[in-house]
């Protein structure tokens, strides 16, 4: 399998703090890959190690299957949207894009076309003459995103790309990400599960600098054999009642999402399940708000994180 990024047993320490603890990660070529984890889990550090910005103490890195980052090999093929990096404050918006575009390898007349396109899709055409420090936070983020897509890099790493954008801009950026070409790979790190769920084809959960789970989105959310029925909050759900409706299936209730979930055998189809379960829900007096194929990424993430959480030591003192 061709990979855009392969991390094997990566260890990265900041003083006594271990940010990455033998992290393994494989980002397949052509995927939109989501990196999910809590604050300090190691998402940004993993990206930075992959991009050659941070040195690691142990482990192997392979970028686009050609070893660790080497400007002679990877320059112009990789782009990065860093999380907290500041663009040069005194340059004009257009100058920033021309500069990074040229460094990316766009030559001659193509640069004007590429910059125009980037300004148009980030809705910054009217601000082309503005200096970077004059931009609002949202405009600044859009400019930072635009520079990552210049020159059609093969591998784009986006650290929290949608944070700080208004809903309309989020939709626009999502469209750009989904409109990537087939040979492009996009790695997205985000706290927003809904973003990851709607954009990514593969996902990895990282906690404490280690990989907890990596799989395709459809497998993680059990798209093929699970249906979630979202009911109104406050509804009391009798699981035994539903077990009698569809005996061969596994039933459970997710209180966080108010979701009645059913995992059914491979022999059944979603349509068959819906035909039996939806009337039963209504008959049972529950108010059905939404039917969703699979379980939510957020629920799956919480389940996995909780199962990997270190056990609290038993209290030595009783009351």
């Amino acid at each position: 399998m061709k990979t855009a990024l392969k991390l094997q047993g990566i260890v990265k320490r900041y003083g006594s703090n271990t940010a990455l603890n033998r992290l393994d990660l494989i980002v397949p070529r052509g995927s939109i890959f989501g990196l999910v984890g809590s604050n300090g889990a190691g998402k940004t550090t993993a990206m930075s190690v992959g991009a050659g910005l941070l040195r690691h103490e142990a482990g192997l890195v392979s970028l686009l299957d050609e070893g660790p980052f080497n400007p002679g090999i990877h320059a112009g093929r990789v782009a990065l949207l860093p999380q907290d990096a500041r663009l040069p404050p005194h340059l004009r918006v257009e100058q920033v894009l021309v500069f990074y575009g040229r460094l990316q390898g766009i030559g001659g007349d193509s640069i004007s076309e590429a910059v125009e396109k980037a300004l148009a899709w980030t809705n910054l055409s009217g601000k082309r003459r503005a200096e970077v420090h004059e931009l609002s936070h949202g405009m600044y983020r859009r400019l930072a995103i635009a520079q990552a897509f210049l020159g059609h890099p093969e591998f784009i790493m986006l650290d929290e790309p949608l944070s700080g954008l208004d809903p309309r801009e989020q939709v626009r950026i999502r469209e750009v990400i989904l409109g990537k070409t087939q040979n492009q790979t996009i790695l997205i790190s985000s706290h927003q599960m809904s973003d990851i769920e709607s954009l990514c084809t593969e996902v990895a959960f990282i906690e404490g600098g280690r990989l907890i789970r990596q799989d395709t989105m459809s497998r993680i959310t059990s798209m093929h054999n699970t249906v979630s029925y979202i009911v109104s909050t406050g509804n009391a759900v009798d699981i035994d009642y539903f077990r009698s409706v569809l005996g061969q299936a596994e039933w459970w209730f997710e209180p966080r999402a108010c979701a009645l979930c059913v995992r059914f055998p491979d022999a059944m189809t979603v349509e068959e399940v819906n035909r039996k379960v939806i009337p039963a829900i209504l008959q049972h007096g529950l108010e059905l708000r939404e039917v969703r194929q699979g379980v939510s990424l957020e629920d799956e993430y919480m389940k996995i994180v909780e199962s990997h959480a270190p056990q609290k030591p038993a209290s030595s003192r009783g009351f």
Binding site: F69, A75, P82, A85, R86, L87, P88, Y100
Partner: protein, 313 residues
């Protein structure tokens, strides 16, 4: 086998060299464009030019004062007959005292045939350039590392190309600042100095501009070297200033207070060791000074890069 691997190795290396040079130029142009918009740089360059103009103004006043006395002594009717006055003026005891006071006995000879605006510009430029360099350039790399702006660039080009580009951009900025200072001084002379010789003064100022720029490059190497050691721009400026003071302490010890060979040897590792050579008109003195100052500049830059190439960005 793809087309890329079929390319002859010499073509491949030419392509890499071409890209490397292009990257350095792109960064240098961007650095210049970003740096000259910074308020701090503009203010320091303005101060630099103002101090040079002030020195030029004082020189005009001094020459005026001794000229008036000489006009009477020589029986020359007016300032406009300066061609007759100039040779006498340059040889006068007062003028000789002034040049000796500013340049010292050794450099006085180098400045003997030079237009007074040339050497006074040289004195000011050689004095102010190290400070200008440390206060404008020492923070430039540290600033980009601290703000993480370097992350946008580090995935696109090599760290070495970036550092060399920053250095080149600052070197061009320094040259522009010095040319601006020299031009201001020349215009001042043209407007206010009686019997001003435009061509001779322009030649002398330009000669000293280039000499002091090369001198400045030595300090620019120190500044960019220091700038690669930290991610805090205030710290980089402070470190640069401390290094500058240390360099001058060594120079003073080697030159004036204690003529011990060890201090002399140590002074040769800093641009201050080549100060006299850069003033000289003798190629045998000037060329080694130019080569050594430029070599030291790159040595400091690469010493800083040795640390920078391994650091986290």
């Amino acid at each position: 086998m793809n087309a890329q691997t079929c390319r002859p190795p010499e073509m491949e290396s030419r392509k890499i060299t071409g890209k490397w040079a292009r990257d350095v130029l792109l960064v240098a142009r961007n650095e210049l464009s970003d740096s000259i918009r910074s308020r701090r740089t503009l203010m320091l360059v303005f101060l630099y030019a103002a101090l040079i103009v002030f020195a030029g103004w004082m020189m005009i006043r001094f020459i005026e004062s001794i000229s008036i006395r000489m006009l009477t002594e020589l029986g020359i009717s007016s300032y406009e007959d300066a061609d007759a006055l100039a040779p006498v003026l340059w040889k006068s005891a007062e003028y000789q005292r002034l040049t000796r006071g500013f340049l010292g006995a050794e450099l006085q000879e180098s400045a003997a045939g030079m237009h007074p605006f040339g050497w006074i510009f040289g004195v000011m430029a050689f004095t102010l350039t190290p400070i200008l360099v440390m206060w404008t350039s020492a923070a430039r790399i540290a600033e980009d590392v601290g703000s993480r702006a370097v992350r946008f660039v580090a995935v696109r080009i090599s760290r070495l190309s970036w550092c060399l580009g920053k250095y080149a951009g600052q070197a061009i900025q320094l040259l522009l600042a010095m040319l601006a200072g020299g031009t201001c001084m020349w215009i001042l002379g043209l407007l206010y100095m009686p019997g001003f010789a435009p061509a001779a003064s322009a030649g002398a100022i330009f000669r000293m501009t280039i000499a002091s720029w090369i001198w400045g490059l030595g300090f620019l190497g120190l500044a960019t070297g220091v700038s690669q050691l930290t991610a805090r721009h205030h710290m980089a400026t402070a470190m640069g200033t401390i290094v500058l003071i240390a360099v001058y302490v060594v120079h003073v010890l080697s030159d004036n207070i204690n003529r011990h060979a060890a201090w002399k040897l140590l002074d040769n590792f800093f641009p201050t060791g080549y100060y006299r050579g850069l003033w000289s008109w003798e190629p045998a003195c000037l060329l080694p000074a130019v080569v050594m100052t430029c070599a030291l500049s790159l040595l400091y830059l690469f010493a800083g890069y040795f640390f920078f190439s391994k650091r986290d960005l």
